[in-house]
């Protein structure tokens, strides 16, 4: 076991835990701790091995290496890939240096992002949107033309919108770790690199749809759902069915009595709880196919939660707070 202090909160975690996991445990176990103590992630996904380390949004500063070696680490470290040491002290939200560096990372992620949120299906549940609101600048300093790509259909269900991609490598890890064959990969290098399939080969296997769930932005979208509705106009419901391929535990997104789309259930950190198969995801679009349990609990503070019955009270509070802040600034 190792004791680690993150932003002044102490927690004891098993050896081999990463700083990020420790921070998440801290938030999970102590409701009074602000969820922002856990650094935001764009590429790390706890259910995918070797994910993380690329996007650099989860960088933190280690002010004390360990009990044995108290020297601070010279550079900010990626918390998702750095293991805890006993006695380690980490600053995240309390360090202006970390927040400044993270602001830089967000800016870098956004300079080649099209910011086409008004027509993007991911808008409202997009991790990059949340990150931009929390850590980004109001205005871009990038005034060159942005990188663009043509849309690609990967098979009948998935649309690849490479222009929006932020190169998190998650979809590649899903294909490596969840499905039999990987057909997509990274081509080229630097800011010209792109996710692509080998000569537009269709990704065709039972669990390929999970790449949509892991995509933090709108680069991989569900073709059966594209442009059907804004996500905040739909009601997420926990539902299940007897499925021979997967657990069958899903979230269905309903408008009236229509099931507009099916996704996996997400936890507090926006990660899928169970992987689901393509049958459940793409073929079962009738409310009769499902046993509806209850409205899904959403505790991420993005736009999807704004129309949710649970958050109406919170919404009022938030708006009040914002108005006060604006009044204060004037």
């Amino acid at each position: 076991m190792a004791k680690i202090t993150i932003d002044g909160h102490m927690i004891e975690v098993p050896d081999g835990t990463t700083i990020l996991q420790a921070a998440r445990m801290l938030v999970d176990k102590n409701p009074e701790v602000d969820a922002k103590v856990a650094p935001p992630t764009m590429c790390y996904y706890s259910k995918l091995k070797t994910s993380g380390g690329y996007c650099r949004t989860c960088i933190v500063k280690v002010t004390k290496g360990s009990e044995k070696d108290p020297r601070p680490m010279p550079k900010p470290v990626a918390s998702c890939r750095t293991n805890v040491m006993d006695g380690m002290e980490v600053v995240n939200m309390t360090s202006p240096e970390v927040l400044d560096a993270r602001k830089g990372v967000v800016e870098f992620l956004l300079i080649n992002h099209p910011l086409d949120c008004p027509i993007c299906d991911q808008a409202g549940e997009c991790h990059l949107q949340d990150l931009g609101y929390e850590h980004g600048l109001a205005k871009t300093r990038y005034d060159f033309s942005r990188r663009t790509f043509n849309l690609i259909d990967i098979g009948p269900y998935i649309k690849l919108h490479m222009t929006r991609c932020i190169m998190c490598f998650r979809c590649i890890k899903v294909a490596d770790q969840l499905t039999n064959n990987r057909y997509q990969g990274m081509l080229f290098r630097g800011d010209a690199s792109e996710i692509s399939t080998y000569i537009e080969k269709a990704i065709d296997n039972d669990f390929s749809g999970n790449v949509i769930d892991v995509c933090p932005v709108g680069a991989l979208t569900d073709r059966t759902w594209r442009f059907k509705s804004r996500v905040w106009f739909t009601k997420p419901m926990d539902a299940h069915r007897n499925c021979t391929k997967c657990s069958g535990k899903v979230a269905i997104w309903m408008k009236g009595n229509d099931v507009l789309r099916v996704t996996s259930r997400k936890d507090q950190w926006g990660e899928a709880i169970d992987w689901i198969c393509n049958d459940c995801r793409f073929e079962k679009k009738d409310a009769k196919d499902w046993v509806i349990e209850k409205p899904s609990h959403i505790n991420r503070h993005s736009v999807i939660s704004q129309n949710h019955y649970e958050s109406l009270a919170q919404l009022k509070l938030d708006i009040g707070k914002q108005q006060k802040q604006i009044a204060g600034k004037k």
Binding site: G53, Y54, G104, F108, R141, F144, R189
Partner: protein, 447 residues
Amino acid sequence: MGKKLLILNDKVPGIATLEVYRQHGGYASVEKVLKTMTPPEVLEEVKKSGLRGRGGAGFPTGMKWSFLARPEGVERYLVCNADESEPGTFKDRYLMEVIPHLLIEGMITSSYALGAKTSYIYIRGEYFYVARILEKALDEAYAAGLLGKNILGSDFSHDCYVQVGGGAYICGEETALLESLEGKRGNPRIKPPFPAIAGVWGCPTVVNNVETIAAVCPIVMMGGDEYAKIGIGRSTGTKLISASGHINKPGVYEIELGLPVEEFIYSEEYCGGIINGNKLKAVVAGGSSVPILPADLILKNDKGEPRLMSYESLSEGGFATGTMLGSGGFIVYDETASIVKNLYTFARFYHHESCGQCSPCREGTGWMEKILHRIIEGHGKPSDIDLLWDIQRKIEGNTICPLGDAAAWPVASAIRHFRSEFEEYIKHPEKIKDVKHYYSVHQLAGA
């Protein structure tokens, strides 16, 4: 005349052949270690010599070797990093091209010290002709019984292979090199684990620069203590410097560490002074990624002491007034050179070579290149200099591998020491010829 250990016989005709090389004392270190020394003794000599990595970072080689994990029944590997791609650096190419057997001798001796049965020379794709020279030399060595089973009748067996890369700068980073060697996309791995624990094929691996491995031969022959007497302070031994730019005699020189920079630039033995008798303006002392220094700071440090060619002296004053010895790519600029245009060339290189894993480097290098392009084509904005400064600051230290730092340092140092030149470009665009450049969104909208 400075002491030469590595390219002592480089002008001897036919030194690339085994026969001539052996006549000049070649492969003596192999014979010496196999017949008279145990692997720990060789390691001890290298430790005593104080040899530091010649690829750029200057990490003590003996220490690196002693970190190598030695679990029972697991193969260990030695990998030679010949992916020399840093702009301004061409010392390894010269060494491998002229005296290929010196590298192979070093590979055998080092592998014996490390207990590696297999070693690889990972050479960059653009050096394919050098790879052929090395392969020819390897064939000769195999035929002479210096490689293969039971070398020179001892019970040490070793195989050495040349692997040609695809020509990527990033594959000179040790973990990206290992990925590429394994046949994967050359992306740097996240450390830890370090290659000394899990390197190529997941086995303990030592990755060393060509010059470092070659330097093991003289260390074995003369002894570590004797080697440590050459040089100055903790910068021991000799170093190959590839000098280029506005000098009378560009080329590869072997210097004793501790040589004054002024002597290196102006003496007839080395660079032979600035071309046409011009004034010295600036120097990039160790390959494109180290900070550029103006003439007054490269000849003397901020305390007014003369600067020496050594790891410590060049980095005196930190990045505010110092630089690094780096890989030994010594680029000299005279008064006619444009620092801004030079920086654009560097920025374009790093943009092209970024692997695309970490967002700061992937996006930031391209952004810096575009801004610099705008400036040199006469469309720069007054805010661009501060923007460049801010971008480089946010790349530095925020990436998995040092390529992000390498891209940020030249920009930072050029702005730090030559800010007025950037301002001149922005204030007087009429002086610069106007050609096409990256159109900005706003300009397109206006047109």
